[in-house]
């Protein structure tokens, strides 16, 4: 029989999953669908270009994608706001328990879902079980024609074929900012750095920051009443809040 203390443990676990450390707010009303975030993400994270053949087959690799939908029947078709979709960094992620090799794990320090490329054997179970379908698989070793190899980001691993990958919330930037703050003996200041997609967005539709800091812009925004979280009903505790029709 469940006792009161058992219930408390459940509550604690839920709040831990709900809480998180880093979060994002995406305002779909001001997103223009320009794909600057997609390009910036690919530059920052060494995401390969798959070529036209594989791209035509639907294998283009992006950690963030702009989804476009429409409402109504022709000719009364109305476009709905663009929806940037990326890893929601779930507090209770469905991708994590299904990996047999512990390649998809939850980080204690950053409260993010990590993908350990070196440990991945490519069962692709995580991608099947991700309700947001935001994981990309390296179907081949993709070539980077000159001069593209010159713009590799040295802070990010280059992945080989047979490995799953996904958005990391630019964890290399998080670490850099934390290291700098630590050497200067202070905490990371809100707005000191941001993720590549948020940095590139010309409309400022993406806000990134600490959601465990009640003063930060992102936690202020995510408390707004018209914010929604995608597929929240699955109990995944996503850490990205969307604004639509505000």
């Amino acid at each position: 029989m469940a006792t009161v203390s058992d219930l408390k443990i459940t509550e604690l676990k839920l709040s831990e999953a709900e809480g998180g450390k880093w979060g994002m707010v995406i305002d779909q009303d001001i997103c223009t669908g320009c794909q600057a975030c997609v390009a910036a993400c690919a530059m920052e994270n060494n995401i390969p270009f798959v070529g036209d053949e594989d791209s035509g087959y639907g294998r283009s690799m992006h950690w963030i994608r702009i989804e476009r939908f429409w409402e109504g029947e022709y000719p009364e078709v109305k476009m709905t706001p663009n929806q940037p979709m990326l890893c929601q960094q779930c507090g209770s992620a469905t991708c994590e328990p299904v990996c047999p090799a512990f390649a998809t794990v939850h980080s204690q320090a950053e409260q993010l879902n990590l993908q350990v490329y070196n440990r991945c054997v490519g069962t692709r179970y995580c991608a099947n079980n991700c309700p947001y379908q935001v994981r990309s698989f390296n179907w081949r070793d993709y070539q980077r024609p000159e001069p593209l190899p010159n713009q590799f980001n040295p802070d990010v691993t280059v992945r080989r074929r047979g490995v799953m990958e996904k958005c990391t919330f630019c964890i290399q930037r998080i670490h850099k900012a934390q290291d700098k703050a630590k050497s200067e003996g202070r905490e990371v200041v809100d707005g000191e750095f941001t993720a590549a997609c948020a940095q590139a967005c010309p409309a400022n539709a993406i806000t990134f920051g600490r959601i465990d800091d009640p003063e930060s812009l992102v936690s202020q925004l995510s408390k707004q009443a018209h914010g929604v979280k995608h597929l929240e009903e699955l109990g995944t505790f996503p850490h990205i809040t969307y604004f639509k029709g505000g």
């Binding site: 594989d54 087959y57 639907g58 294998r59 994608r65 989804e67 476009r68 939908f69 929806q83 979709m85 469905t94 328990p97 299904v98 990996c99 047999p100 090799a101 512990f102 440990r119 991945c120 054997v121 490519g122 069962t123 692709r124 179970y125 991608a127 099947n128 079980n129 309700p131 947001y132 379908q133 990309s136 698989f137 390296n138 179907w139 081949r140 070793d141 074929r161 047979g162 490995v163 799953m164 597929l231 699955l234």
Partner: protein, 482 residues
């Protein structure tokens, strides 16, 4: 009532007219031959020089295996899984369909052998080994299929719990880890279970052969001489394995079903998948057994004596019952999912029936329910080997389609409509045909190397069965041997 009685009398009169021949002709257990002669028949079927037809089929299958399995797999490893058709959102394609299919096939071997042995169903005696061989060879193909689909198969050993300096272990939360353990257990135990009843026959073959065969059988027979003590040990071991392998068999396909049922996908997240998959596996497995039996009977020497229409009739009955069981579970699963009314599940069910591959859904129901029910109810049709094996082939096609519907087709529909995309297979097709050819190839090689008929079991059964006359009535009696 009176009509029934009359009917019975007519049957009896017929028996008297033909004497006991009627029984002899029909039942292997009542048609004994001298031991030496029967042993020679089995040896002959195994050692007779292969005909040109055998070598032709063997050669064609070898080419298919070399190209379809080994060359294609090498390409898959060197170039990446990209040459297969799997794609977002159908990250699992025909590879997993074939894995589940082959594990299903492998189920019937143990089912026939273990359950029928435990329940002492006498008709099992001549074909237990043919069925058990399917288990082992089917599991080999299942293993191939699942390893093919790995992105980095050369690191497959990371899925095994082995001691390493970084203290990295497999994730026991993942159904795939359970799967690996269950399938390995099943492979090892079913191979042991295949080997144990084989020992007396290997000893028989050792005593009757010369040359390299003598060395081969002497090594495998482990010095079995047929003493009372050896038989007692063998019977004990077989009894333990027959009982123990039944729960293992149930666990394997339940765990395979959990790969899907434990995920959050619409159409997969179903509590009834465990028993549904077990019945489905038995369905395809029984179909495969009957096809194998029909082929053995038609192509190998002396097999018409051992495998008779009565066996097709008996397996046909089982097939009919299992087909009804499958229909029950299918309807149960479908009904509850449909009634649940979840937005995505509803979309998926519409896609199953009315989507571009809707024909598969209907073909599945025709092959798995309509055809078996239409043919197998009739004892006469049920006893015709080619007809029942045709039904077996249809059932296997239907069950393959069922897995295709559950895996790539159900994966097409998810909660993110932006990513919906049809799955078109690529190199999966030669690889899948390669596993089928490899299965047949292994079976053909085995038919020339080990006795496919458990002779000692047949002889034991024939000793236990007797025709006894009670007044004018001839009755079949079976004495307890153990």
């Amino acid at each position: 009532m009176t009509y029934d009685k009359k009917e019975k009398k007519v049957v009896h009169a017929e028996h008297h007219a033909h004497g006991d021949d009627h029984f002899r002709e029909k039942h292997l257990m009542l048609d004994p031959l001298p031991r030496g002669q029967m042993n020679d028949m089995v040896m002959e079927s195994m050692t007779e020089p292969p005909t040109w037809k055998f070598w032709l089929v063997f050669g064609i299958l070898s080419v298919i295996v070399a190209y379809g399995l080994f060359y294609s797999w090498a390409r898959l490893i060197i170039e990446g899984v990209g040459i297969a058709g799997v794609n977002r959102p159908s990250y699992w394609g025909i590879f997993l369909v074939n894995t589940v299919f082959w594990i299903g096939i492998s189920h019937a071997g143990t089912f026939i052998s273990a359950i029928l042995r435990v329940f002492r169903a006498e008709f099992r005696r001549p074909f237990t080994r043919a069925a058990e061989l399917m288990t082992t060879f089917g599991l080999v193909q299942a293993g191939f299929s699942i390893f093919m689909h790995l992105g980095r198969v050369w690191l497959f050993y990371w899925l095994l719990p082995y001691p390493n300096e970084r203290m990295l272990w497999p994730n026991m939360h993942s159904p795939l880890s359970w799967d690996l353990i269950a399938i390995t257990t099943y492979l090892l135990s079913s191979t042991m279970y295949l080997f144990l009843p084989l020992i007396p026959d290997l000893a028989m073959a050792r005593d009757k052969s010369t040359g390299w065969r003598k060395i081969f059988y002497r090594t495998l027979a482990l010095g079995f001489r047929g003493t009372e003590g050896e038989w007692a040990h063998l019977r004990n071991a077989m009894n333990i394995f027959a009982w123990a392998i039944i729960p293992v068999m149930f666990s394997v396909h339940t765990i395979v079903s959990w790969d899907f049922a434990a995920a959050t996908r619409p159409g997969w997240n179903s509590t009834i998948f465990g028993p549904y998959f077990i019945v489905g596996a038995l369905h395809s497995g029984m179909g495969a057994v009957i096809v194998v039996l029909a082929i053995i009977r038609a192509t190998m020497k002396n097999m018409k004596y051992f495998i008779r229409p009565e066996h097709f009739d008996a397996i046909g009955k089982l097939m009919l019952v299992i087909s009804m069981g499958w229909a029950y579970f299918f309807f149960n699963d479908y009904m509850v999912q449909w009634y649940g009314g979840d937005k995505w599940t509803k979309q998926l069910l519409h896609f199953h029936e009315g989507g571009p591959l809707g024909w598969m859904w209907f073909a599945m129901l025709i092959c798995n329910i309509a055809i078996p029910w239409a043919v197998l109810w009739n004892p006469k049709w049920r006893s015709i080997p080619w007809l029942v094996s045709m039904v077996g082939i249809f059932i296997n096609v239907g069950m393959w389609l069922e897995r295709y519907i559950i895996i790539p087709i159900s994966l097409t529909i998810n909660r993110m409509p932006f990513t919906w995309r049809m799955y078109t297979p690529g190199i999966e097709i030669p690889l899948g045909i390669g596993t089928l050819a490899f299965f047949c190839l292994l079976y053909m090689a085995a038919s020339k190397l080990i006795p496919l008929i458990p002779v000692w079991e047949v002889q034991e059964g024939q000793m236990a069965h007797k025709l006894t006359k009670y007044g004018r009535e001839t009755v079949v009696t079976v004495s307890e041997l153990e």
